[in-house]
Amino acid sequence: MNKVEKFLRGRFASALVAVIIGFAVAAVVLVAAGYDPIASFGALLSGAFGKPKYISNVFIKATPILLTGISVAFAFKTGLFNIGAEGQYILGTVLATVVGCSLNLPMPLQVPIVLLSGMVGGALLGAFVGWLKAKFGIHEVITSIMCNWITFYLCNFVVMSDAFHKPNSTSAVPVNPSSYTILFGMWKKSEAGKQFLAGIPWLREILLKTDLSAGFLIAVVVAVIISIVLKRTKLGYELRAVGLNRDAARFSGIAVERNIVLSMLISGAISGLAGALSITGTSPHTITLLAAMEGYGFNGMSVAFIAGCAPLGCIPASILFASLIYGGMSVQQAMGVPSDIINIMIGTIVFFTALPGIAPFFANKIQRRREAKELASSQGIERA
């Protein structure tokens, strides 16, 4: 087996092949629409990574989808398809906002409480879906889609309710600043901070021009924890066993129902945390009236599948996804290319990662060609 074949059978190959095919399809669409693909991809790259503040924004964009990605990946590893990450995310934003604007404690207390309330919201919603599955055998895809809509309208209800509506706006009251997870939020605006940052232009640009928050770091920590839970703990072992063969798990005395609820609870908590961090980390630090779902949960599904549902793999996948979305906006501005083409590209990438056989297919082709060549050369030797 040569190196290319080995790589194609490896873990990262499917994602990489899918990304390449995604770019190829986008190039074809760009050419067909009359745009220069090389220049467009250049604009995409510089739009995502050209300046320190762009990079910062990519990480800010990646934060919620990294967490919802981990949420979907975790559930998937335990045999559940959590299509309800969207609803759990929304409930996380709602509870974080409600608690964050009602309480005003010192920061070291306020931040954990606000984040925790978002997690509790997502966890309860997830556990409810899990309970329906364990108790009544209702498929989690059906119930979690329903819950997405319920939370969507619940969010709009809270925004417009007397208790939380901010007058003359389409938003609820923002959370108290003590809830913010923005990095160096107070210090960077102080005189001392400004003076210090004046000497380091790139850091100044990142901190002052973007809402760089602790969110991405927290999400990475969550990815590491979830990865350890799945691979190295008794809980993760049971959850995986239940997901991979429910009958064998039951036969071995594992409490299958309890594990289904627990899995959805954890998955929901992660999505809820994503929602809470969006509130504490980015302006307007509150929930707003939604006309349509924002798609953080659904993009999380894409991230999870690009990552092959490996929690740590979600980290690069979320950065890739965020840079496509964020960089895509510059392509639109610089080249006049409609953002739809970027969406086609993202769609193509997700489409091809969803076909797990695609990389091994190429590996088989190479193998066959190699074997044919070997056969031909050995026959050549025989004849000679």
Partner: protein, 509 residues
């Protein structure tokens, strides 16, 4: 062998590769006209692959096929049928709620003008076939109402109806009672007398001795030769198949039964449809003895095991383990009462195939402190523990601790389950179809383990659809029919015919 019209089918130098794996490596098969030709081999030896090539389901990479001395190319089952080849699969392909006639003509319907089905003519044709071959089959009976043996005859009729001259029977006796097997052998000899040729795929030596004229042996895809069955013996066939000498008789010392470990009193279990599958069943298993339950599949065996494991609800009665009631609790509680079960369907109940071997060997006991303190699972400990099991039970390939369970062969998967269950040092070991689908070598090792466990002092409950297995291994033989124990015998006091009658609902003589 030379190509000649004396042979119904000749396959020469057949090579079939799946990727890098060579399933068949220059295999030859020469089936004389009007003979029964057996193909013998262990599981995964390539028997079925070879037949699938003949039936056009696979294409050979090399080699040629001849019929009546002429080379033929068969690229699909339709072509195989056109060449007069018929195949009866191990799992019948019948429409349960159609009649015998409807099933036989399905796909080859007799039509009148404008494509209208002419059932009367079809029925007449089927009747003629039934009479010609003397099959005891009612053409108007609905498939779900007739016995498995009759269903198999319908499958054979289906092939004959399509003009089959060569019949392939894939593991034809797996689901039959001893009486039905005898009847099948009769039918096979009848068919030969009427000019047909038969190929049977099997790994049961006894039936080859009874039914076949010649036997070709395949070992791991390699052709080992063809023997004349008359001048051969079971032992010779077995050693050719496995590649070493195999002990076909189960060697054991007399049992020394002690106290009752498992006691089942008046147990009744209903299935999901509310039908009683186990009815007022009584059974005792003592420590130090093997109690074997003989019976045909579907007579309550599955429900009995489910009830003992607390996977199914006992509607009445009691299951006592060392004097304590365990019915209607949960699987964990049953395990805690020192009950270990080797399930009948290892893929469904016994293993998590995508997980590693070392994860599968601790499926019931990963929570114990010896595999990690607190919430963590210590993979080094798992590895160590699994290495020991792999060594003492000869699970292959050696060093497979971190391989996926799905990569192991059926026999080795079964060894892993047995190793796991025995590692608990259980008071009661339930072995449900423990050798299903295993070859002679693996069966020998399973039986040895069961007897070793008995000698250690465990109570063993063996439930098997293979009558020979129950008769050879058990100290006490119980027969189950319609959810009840209809007879209990000490080993050696009962013969196959008596048991066969009881299994089929007859009266013991």
């Amino acid at each position: 062998m030379e190509v000649s019209p004396e042979f119904a089918v000749q396959m020469h130098g057949i090579v079939k590769k799946f990727g890098a794996y060579t399933a068949l490596d220059h295999v030859d098969l020469d089936v004389r006209k009007q003979t029964v030709h057996a193909i013998l081999g262990e599981n995964g030896a390539g028997k079925t692959t070879l037949m699938n090539i003949l039936y056009g389901l696979y294409q050979a990479d090399e080699g040629s096929v001849y019929m009546d001395g002429k080379e033929v190319s068969i690229t699909s089952p339709t072509e195989a049928i056109a060449h007069g080849i018929g195949m009866v699969h191990q799992h019948f392909m019948l429409v349960e709620n159609f009649t015998v006639t409807e099933n036989i003509i399905l796909g080859d319907e007799v039509c009148g003008a404008a494509g209208v089905l002419d059932m009367r003519k079809a029925r007449k044709e089927v009747m003629e076939l039934v009479e010609e071959y003397g099959f005891d089959v009612d053409p108007d009976a609905v498939i779900q109402d007739i016995t498995v043996g009759m269903q198999q005859r319908v499958e054979i009729l289906k092939a004959l109806y399509r003009g089959a001259e060569v019949l392939i029977l894939d593991e034809p006796t797996a689901v039959l009672t001893p009486q039905e097997i005898e009847k099948l052998i009769e039918i096979m000899h009848d068919l030969i007398a009427k000019g047909k040729s038969i190929i049977i795929i099997t790994h049961k030596l006894k039936e080859i001795m009874q039914s076949a004229d010649e036997c070709s042996i395949i070992r791991r895809g390699v052709y080992m030769g063809t023997v004349d069955v008359k001048n051969s013996s079971e032992t010779e066939l077995a050693s050719k198949m496995v590649g070493r000498n195999v002990n076909l008789t189960v060697e054991k010392t007399p049992a020394h039964p002690a106290d009752v470990t498992l006691s089942i009193r008046g147990l009744t279990v209903k299935d999901e449809r509310g039908i009683e599958q186990v009815r007022d069943l009584n059974l005792d298993v003592r420590s130090g003895e093997i109690v074997g339950i003989a019976g045909i599949d579907g007579n309550g065996q599955q429900e009995l095991v489910d009830a003992i494991c607390s996977l199914a609800k006992a509607t009445s009665g009691a299951i006592l383990m060392n004097g304590q009631e365990i019915q209607n609790t949960n699987p964990r509680n049953v395990l805690n009462h020192s009950v270990a079960v080797i399930p009948s369907d290892r893929h469904r109940w016994g293993l998590v195939l995508p997980m590693m071997v070392e994860e599968n060997t601790v499926l019931e006991r990963h929570g114990e402190d010896m595999f990690g303190k607190g919430i963590m699972l210590d993979y080094e400990k798992l590895h160590e523990f699994t290495s020991k099991l792999i060594e003492s039970y000869d699970i292959r390939p050696a060093g497979c601790e971190e391989e996926r369970m799905s990569g192991l062969s059926g026999g080795n998967q079964q060894k892993a389950i047995i190793a796991r269950q025995v590692s608990y040092v259980p008071d009661l070991l339930i072995a449900f179809q423990p050798t299903r689908g295993l070859d002679v070598g693996a069966i020998e090792s399973v039986h040895k383990t069961l007897i070793a466990e008995r000698d250690r002092g465990a109570a063993i409950l063996l439930i098997s659809f293979e009558l020979d297995e129950v008769m050879d291994v058990s100290d006490t033989i119980a027969v189950i029919y319609h959810g009840q124990i209809v007879g209990t015998f000490a080993q050696g006091t009962v013969d196959e015919n008596q048991l066969g009658l009881l299994m089929a609902g007859g009266e013991a003589k």
